[in-house]
């Protein structure tokens, strides 16, 4: 490792962003994108823990077919809380708001994002939304499921739907602010010489993600307003009694929520491209096609929402159209998987923790993607829709994909964030535990779904018990895999070995400045002369 060499020729140290102030005020009123990234990290860790606890309770309940641990009301509130918090308060902000905020300006050689004040505002909006959502949970919870389907949510549910919807609504504006900031940042603040074809693939994927954030989120906002008005007013356009249509809600909701799935996976793909290149010490195979596939996913992702509605009594023909488009959106994802595999060819591969997470991502995302093909096939979807097959599928994408990528990215950029290294072997073992626990938790759910176990079931017929027990056992292993990093990363933050500017020997502007990053990122604006991942034949940057 070139650690010693690198650090010895490091420039005289400017104060790092961590040393720029130690008061609470210096954190809460910071305009520094790096500190805002850290604020997001703290917040989403809390929300993740709450949502994961809800999942743990659900898995314990599902050990036995009878509803013996919690009541049906509680169970329904648990999965709603799990879904809402995980989707809007963990997955969507995870890589974009934490790693994106921290890394994007460093990667493009800028001092900050385009609108630092807006960036801080977006964190406050996020917190306001999170606090409202938490309030609605503490006040008694919501039992609508994260999808808020009408007329259940607008008329029949007795939960604190309004507070929850308001929380999501406000957090949505935080998403919009972040996406807008990234779009303008990537367009306007790139270092001299950093052309679009030299852009690291993480930036391409973040750009694509931002487009979705900006164009999809407003539709969710207005849909929630319509739903809330209907609940408040007793009148609304989704109400069949007045001639409204409950399916209209689903159209509007999925117009946002399907692209939102890509908000939750595209950044992960970007992280994987970065880490694979860094630890194979080689450019990503087919750079242009991989970059273009991110954009293709972002755009095609808006055309497929109807595949959530194949059995909803949507028109048969619309179903056929949406099915065809859904197959097409799978093509760019497949391109990425093949390109990643080809990237390994003729590399100089090492197996540090981020690489293990990236390899885990490729495996799990492939399974998630392929089962997505099952769900796009109309006839099969009719059978497995709203069963545990769907649960397994999207957890393979969201947890196996996005959470793996988030953990991988966190480990990869941890030296830049904290200036220190974590204990490598502990981290590798945690990654392995996560991978095993994950598969044990979710693979049985594919089988359960095919056998017909519906989702959101508090009690279930006895023949499903064996597989549910397996799944719960896996969940307990997964919990260990998630808890470990909290400890060793926390320890490393204060006591870890100091990392040089570039501990992995990777390319990319973020590795050209000190670790932890200086307050203003770069002493002089860097100039870029090569494409991304310019490793030489020996795998050196």
């Amino acid at each position: 490792m070139s650690l010693l060499v690198e650090s010895s020729k490091a420039p005289p140290r400017m104060p790092s962003y961590l040393e720029a102030g130690h008061t609470v005020r210096s954190w809460l009123f910071t305009l520094d994108h790096k500190r805002i990234g850290i604020l997001y990290m703290a917040a989403i860790t809390v929300f993740f823990s709450i949502a994961a606890s809800a999942a743990a309770l659900m898995r314990i309940e599902l050990l036995t077919p009878a509803g013996d641990v919690v009541t049906s009301e509680t169970y329904n509130r648990l999965f709603t809380m799990h879904g809402v918090l995980m989707v809007w308060f963990f997955l969507i902000p995870s890589i974009p708001s934490v790693l994106g905020n921290f890394i994007i300006p460093l990667m493009i050689g800028a001092r900050d994002v385009a609108f630092p004040r807006l960036n801080l505002l977006s964190w406050y909006l996020f917190m306001a939304g999170g606090i409202l959502a938490t309030y609605s949970i503490v006040a008694g919870g919501v039992d609508t499921g994260w999808t808020f389907y009408t007329p259940y949510s607008s008329t029949y549910s007795n939960g604190h739907v309004m507070a929850m919807a308001a929380g999501v609504f406000i957090a949505g504006f935080s998403s919009i602010a972040t996406g807008l900031n990234f779009i303008v940042t990537i367009h306007k603040l790139r270092a001299p010489g950093l052309t679009w074809t030299r852009l690291p693939l993480f930036l391409w994927s973040m750009y694509a993600t931002s487009i979705i954030l900006v164009l999809a989120t407003p539709v969710l906002a207005i849909t929630l307003v319509l739903m809330a008005m209907e609940r408040l007013w007793g009148v609304g356009i989704f109400d069949p009694k007045l001639g409204g249509d409950p399916l209209l809600f689903q159209h509007l909701f999925w117009f946002y929520s399907h692209p939102a799935v890509y908000i939750m996976i595209l950044p992960g793909m970007g992280v994987v491209s970065e880490t694979l290149a860094a630890f194979a010490r080689k450019p990503v195979f087919g750079y242009r096609v991989v970059a273009a596939s991110s954009m293709a996913i972002a755009i095609l992702g808006f055309l497929v929402w109807g595949h959530h509605m194949f059995v909803s009594s949507q028109s048969v023909y619309a179903g056929v159209v949406f099915s065809l488009l859904s197959f097409l959106v799978a093509v760019p994802s497949a391109i990425k998987v093949f390109s990643w595999t080809a990237t390994l060819y003729r590399g100089h591969i090492t197996f540090e923790t981020p690489m293990l997470y990236a390899l885990g991502f490729i495996g799990l995302f492939t399974v998630g993607g392929l089962t997505g093909i099952f769900l796009a096939s109309l006839a099969v979807d009719v059978h497995v829709h709203d069963t545990y097959f769907v649960i397994a599928h999207f957890h393979y994408i969201m947890v196996g994909g996005m959470v793996m990528a988030y953990m991988g990215g966190l480990h990869y950029w941890w030296p830049k964030i904290s200036g220190r290294l974590y204990h490598e072997w502990t981290a590798r073992i945690a990654a392995l535990i996560t991978f095993i626990g994950f598969n044990l938790t979710f693979f049985p759910q594919f089988v359960l779904g095919y056998l017909g176990m519906p989702r959101r079931y508090h009690m279930y017929p006895e023949q499903f018990q064996t597989l549910n027990v397996l799944s719960t056992a896996g969940a307990s292993i997964l919990a260990v895999g998630y808890a470990l990093p909290l400890f060793y990363l926390g320890w490393s933050f204060f006591f870890g070995r100091r990392a040089g500017p570039n501990p992995w020997g990777a390319t990319g502007l973020e590795w050209k400045t000190a670790s932890p990053a200086p307050e203003h990122n770069f002493e002089t604006t860097p100039v870029v002369t090569t494409g991304a991942y310019a490793y030489d034949a020996e795998g050196n940057p």
């Binding site: 164009l215 399916l247 159209h251 117009f255 808006f302 028109s315 048969v316 023909y317 619309a318």
Partner: protein, 96 residues
């Protein structure tokens, strides 16, 4: 990018065109030629008015390509939402 801005006369000309279109729109609504035609005329005039506001008042015709793309993106995505939603509603009655 500030140097190229509409002249005062352009602004006033645009304004009077907008008011004329409004008058036309109001008059056309009183002149019954079938609900569908009336709707098309009303929306067509609204589209022309919006185009005028975007191009002149919002100075889109003086902006570089990127900003134009962003200005159009919103409308394009709105069209996606409308067209695909209606792919359901318009074919609901059909049976295979």
């Amino acid at each position: 990018m500030h140097s190229a801005a509409p002249a005062k006369t352009t602004l006033f000309a645009t304004y009077f065109a907008l008011i004329a279109l409004l008058a036309l729109s109001a008059a056309a609504a009183k002149w019954q030629i079938g609900p569908l035609w009336n709707l098309f005329i009303a929306l067509g005039i609204a589209a022309v008015k919006t185009a005028l506001v975007f191009l002149v008042f919002m100075q889109l015709r003086y902006q570089r390509g990127l900003v134009r793309v962003f200005a159009l993106a919103g409308f394009l995505w709105l069209a996606i939402s409308g067209v695909l939603t209606f792919s359901d509603y318009l074919t609901r009655g059909w049976t295979p």
